[in-house]
């Protein structure tokens, strides 16, 4: 098992190249953060890993399997699960159906198991299980979105900007719970803008700016002083 390996990845939308040759690795079981200001291309990287976008150049592999340009459903089968940016719950479906979708194509026992786990961790989801997901608050939708990922039993977990649009206290709580929600051996690539929180949870990080990798380091170097990342993020010196 050799984790996630990205080599010289280039991705574009039409003629617009957005990622200009990225090298990135996450060892099995490691928790790594992908940081950067918005527009840096972080979501694009996750979308490409999940098969929603096809690389124009470069390779992506997980557990020694080439996964660049593969059909998204095949990736889910492999255990590559994404918690997308903005939660992306299905607003017209109720909470329970949203959770059921996460078990699509898998055996019903996993669903039973998964629902039990999820409802224990997030009792409010059980309370609201027949409510339309579109009516939930932002925080509850994030719970729902994370729960979908729990049910899907990820081997490689990709989380895209969990902090987006959520109150800071709530985000902190989610981060603290992450270890509780997913097993220790899950390989995690976490996309975040909020460096402080991400660094507390991940052991290593990369910083993207305008589609280029500008910095990579161990978290402990910056975890007490995330402001020092400012020039990496913004490209302007303090």
């Amino acid at each position: 098992m050799s984790g996630l390996k990205i080599k010289d990845l280039k991705v574009g939308y039409g003629r617009n190249e957005v990622i200009h040759g990225l090298d990135l690795e996450v060892a099995p079981g490691e928790k790594v953060a992908l940081l950067g200001a918005n527009g840096a291309g972080k979501s694009t990287v996750l979308k490409t890993i999940s098969g929603l976008l096809t690389p124009t150049e470069g390779t992506i592999s997980f557990s020694d399997n080439e996964i660049g340009g593969v059909n998204p459903s095949a990736l889910v089968d492999m255990g590559v699960i994404q918690v997308p940016e903005g939660r992306r719950v299905f607003p017209g479906l109720n909470v329970e159906d949203n959770l059921k979708v996460a078990n699509y194509g898998k055996s019903p026992e996993f669903l039973e198991e998964g629902l039990e786990t999820v409802y224990k961790k997030f009792p409010i989801l059980q309370e609201r299980r027949k409510q339309a997901a579109g009516l939930l608050s932002g925080g509850q939708q994030q719970m729902l979105s994370l729960s979908r990922a729990i049910i899907a039993k990820p081997k490689l977990l990709l989380i895209d900007e969990m902090s987006l649009g959520l109150a800071p206290l709530l985000v902190k709580e989610f981060y603290e719970q992450l270890g509780d929600l997913f097993s220790e051996d899950v390989t995690l690539l976490l996309v975040e803008q909020n460096a402080g929180l991400a660094l507390k949870y991940c052991s290593r990080f990369y910083v993207l700016r305008n589609g280029d990798l500008v910095l990579q380091s161990d978290s402990k170097e910056y975890v007490d002083n995330p402001t020092a990342l400012q020039s990496a993020y913004l490209g302007v010196d303090a």
Binding site: E17, G39, E161, Q193, G196, P226, T227, Q230
Partner: protein, 617 residues
């Protein structure tokens, strides 16, 4: 005046841009073709029915180019206009005993009005609904005709009277063919004039990106209704001819099936070119001639051809020929390099002082934008939460903020591209709150788009001409007949556009289809389109996205030069903080829908709150 004319002509010549003329190469070929058939009309009289049908369908095809090829409205009820022409003709010739001199104007007029009516739904629904709505119109139209016995003669139909013009009667046969050819010439000429004029450009723009068309200040709603009216009127002329060919008008013939055939024919031929209308008509009318069997298999052949063409050649037969032609042309070395060389000479001349750009300079700074309590909520989430600021005229302001901060929403609230925005927006003293996009554009709001929204099928020069549309001074009727002042205005616009392209270093690409350009140049075309409208304030939506910072800075420099020249203000949204800090006089920072900083770049990039918002600390 003639001195000016010389300078003007030289400018266009340098760039290799042909002058807008009364007639083009295509016109000559077309005229020759029509002349040929005209002269031969007498000889192959056994084919005159087929030739007539081809001509009629070509006319209908041309009218459909207006609605579908140019404006992009997929209408499956077009034959209702043909039917109107047919039955009006039948009634006028029998009941009123009048001839073509009455039939044609009345058919055109009635169909025009009918088109205005039918065009209405196109404003409220997307193209898909429209297709089905017009399908329903065609179907039910036939039923209504059936029931309206007085007008249509019911199921048995109505005979068509004599073919005459101002009392002078013609026999059918070759004469009718010749009359038809003349009408075809006129119709094609009119449609061609639209294609070369501002209305054609506007229709093409609204087809390829309605949003961008509105932002350029084009009256999209009216253009949509108008295309149905004009297309309908021209189709009715085809109907009049059809009536005289068939000599009998039966409601049953003008239903859904004919509507579909007409669309099929145009798509098979190629929906953007008049030649496509001819090829399509020929395909549909000559194929059955080849053998009696073909008639039985019409649906299979047309349907099958359509399916295959949709899959492999969406531009129809014409598209295939053009593609072949391009391949042959590319194989032949061209002397394009010479022209490029000469434009590099022109780049050293100062375009901003040119005959056309100079008058645009203004000492009155424009672009004073006041925003008061702007708020936008999407389903409970306050994307913009009570933002107020004032941008002084003539400066460059940056608007930054982390993801989800609301800057794009605020931007779209200013341009009118987001619904449900509350608050006050005032530009140079004019209130633009709650106004539709194109009204704001006409008031002086210019913008670019993050995803460009360029117009496929239009070249770079045409994009610039789009921005200039509001200053081009001729009406649609003059355009139909390419009256002298149309040419004058077109030339003026071409010069201005050329100078603008020159300033943004796009002149050598004037003839390129935008989808063929590299991304960086595409972005510049987007900017040129906005600048051409002479905005009071230019809103740039992530101008640096996807560009290396150096290239983005270069482009921004040019934009700034021009903006200074016309004294317009500039507002930039950007993620690239480095770039914004470099070009802006002042930066506004948003976070969670509210303003958290407002000051000079130095102040803002050192502001702790701003850094915290970005880094989340």
């Amino acid at each position: 005046m003639s001195n000016n004319a010389e300078i003007q002509e030289n400018a266009l010549q340098r760039a290799g841009i042909p002058l807008p003329k009364f007639l083009k190469k295509n016109h000559y070929f077309g005229f020759l073709g029509i002349l040929l058939v005209y002269l031969l009309a007498g000889t192959y009289s056994e084919y005159s029915q087929t030739i007539m049908n081809t001509i009629i369908f070509a006319i209908i095809g041309a009218s459909l180019i207006v609605v579908f090829g140019m404006a992009g409205q997929l209408t499956l009820g077009h034959t209702i206009f043909v039917a109107a022409g047919v039955f009006l003709s039948a009634n006028i010739t029998t009941v009123w005993s009048r001839g073509l001199e009455t039939e044609i104007p009345i058919a055109f007029g009635v169909a025009f009005l009918l088109g205005l009516l039918i065009g209405f739904p196109s404003l409220r629904v997307n193209e898909l609904y429209l297709a089905l709505a017009t399908f329903a119109v065609a179907f039910v139209g036939v039923q209504v005709l059936f029931e309206w016995k007085q007008f249509s003669g019911g199921g048995s139909g109505k005979p068509v009277g004599k073919l005459e013009l101002f009392g002078y009667e013609f026999s059918r046969g070759p004469t009718l063919v010749r009359i038809a050819l003349v009408l075809m010439l006129i119709t094609f000429w009119i449609v061609g004039n639209y294609q070369d004029g501002r209305t054609g450009r506007a229709w093409n723009a609204l087809r390829t990106s309605e949003t961008a068309a509105r932002a350029a200040g084009l009256p999209v709603a009216w253009l949509k209704i108008l295309c149905f009216a004009i297309g309908g009127g021209l189709a009715a002329i085809g109907g009049v001819l059809y009536a005289h060919t068939l000599r009998f008008a039966i409601p049953e013939n003008y239903g859904v099936s004919l509507s579909i055939i007409v669309v099929l024919a145009l798509i098979i031929g190629g929906k953007h070119r008049l030649m496509g209308a001819v090829l399509g008509a020929a395909f549909v009318k000559w194929l059955p001639e080849l053998s009696r069997d073909v008639q039985e298999y019409e649906g299979l052949i047309y349907g099958g051809t359509l399916i295959i063409l949709t899959l492999i050649a969406p531009d129809g037969l014409v598209g295939m020929f053009e593609w072949l032609g391009d391949r042959i042309k590319n194989a032949i070395p061209s002397n394009k390099d010479e022209i490029v060389g000469s434009t590099s000479v022109s780049a050293s001349a100062l375009p901003l002082e040119s005959t056309f750009l100079a008058p645009l300079s203004s000492s009155e700074p424009k672009g004073n934008l006041i925003v008061r309590d702007a708020a936008v909520a999407f389903g409970g989430v306050k994307a913009v939460d009570g933002v107020s600021f004032e941008i002084p005229a003539g400066g460059v302001t940056g608007l930054i903020g982390s993801n989800g901060a609301g800057k794009t929403t605020l931007f779209n609230a200013i341009t009118g591209h987001v619904k449900g925005a509350t608050g006050q927006f005032i530009l140079d003293g004019t209130e633009i709150s709650q106004k539709p996009i194109h009204t704001r554009a006409l008031a002086g709001v210019g913008r670019t788009f993050q995803n460009l929204n360029l117009h496929d099928d239009l070249n770079v020069l045409e994009h610039a001409l789009l921005g200039l549309d509001r200053n081009i001074g001729y009406g649609r009727i003059a355009e139909s007949f390419r009256l002298p002042w149309v040419l004058r205005e077109e030339r003026k616009a071409h010069y201005l556009a050329a100078e603008l392209l020159d300033h943004m270093d796009l002149l050598e690409y004037w003839d390129e289809k935008v989808e063929d350009l590299p991304y960086g140049l595409q972005k510049r075309v987007d900017v040129v389109r906005a600048l051409a409208a002479n905005p009071s304030i230019l809103l740039l939506d992530e101008p640096a996205a996807g560009l290396p910072t150096a290239e983005a800075l270069e482009m921004m420099k040019k934009v700034q030069e021009y903006a200074t020249h016309i004294s317009a203000g500039v507002l930039i949204i950007e993620h690239n903080v480095e770039l914004v800090a470099d070009v802006s006089d002042r930066i506004l920072v948003l976070d969670a829908g509210k303003t958290i900083a407002d000051g000079t770049p130095e102040e803002v990039t050192r502001n702790e709150q701003v850094i915290a918002a970005y880094l989340g600390t």
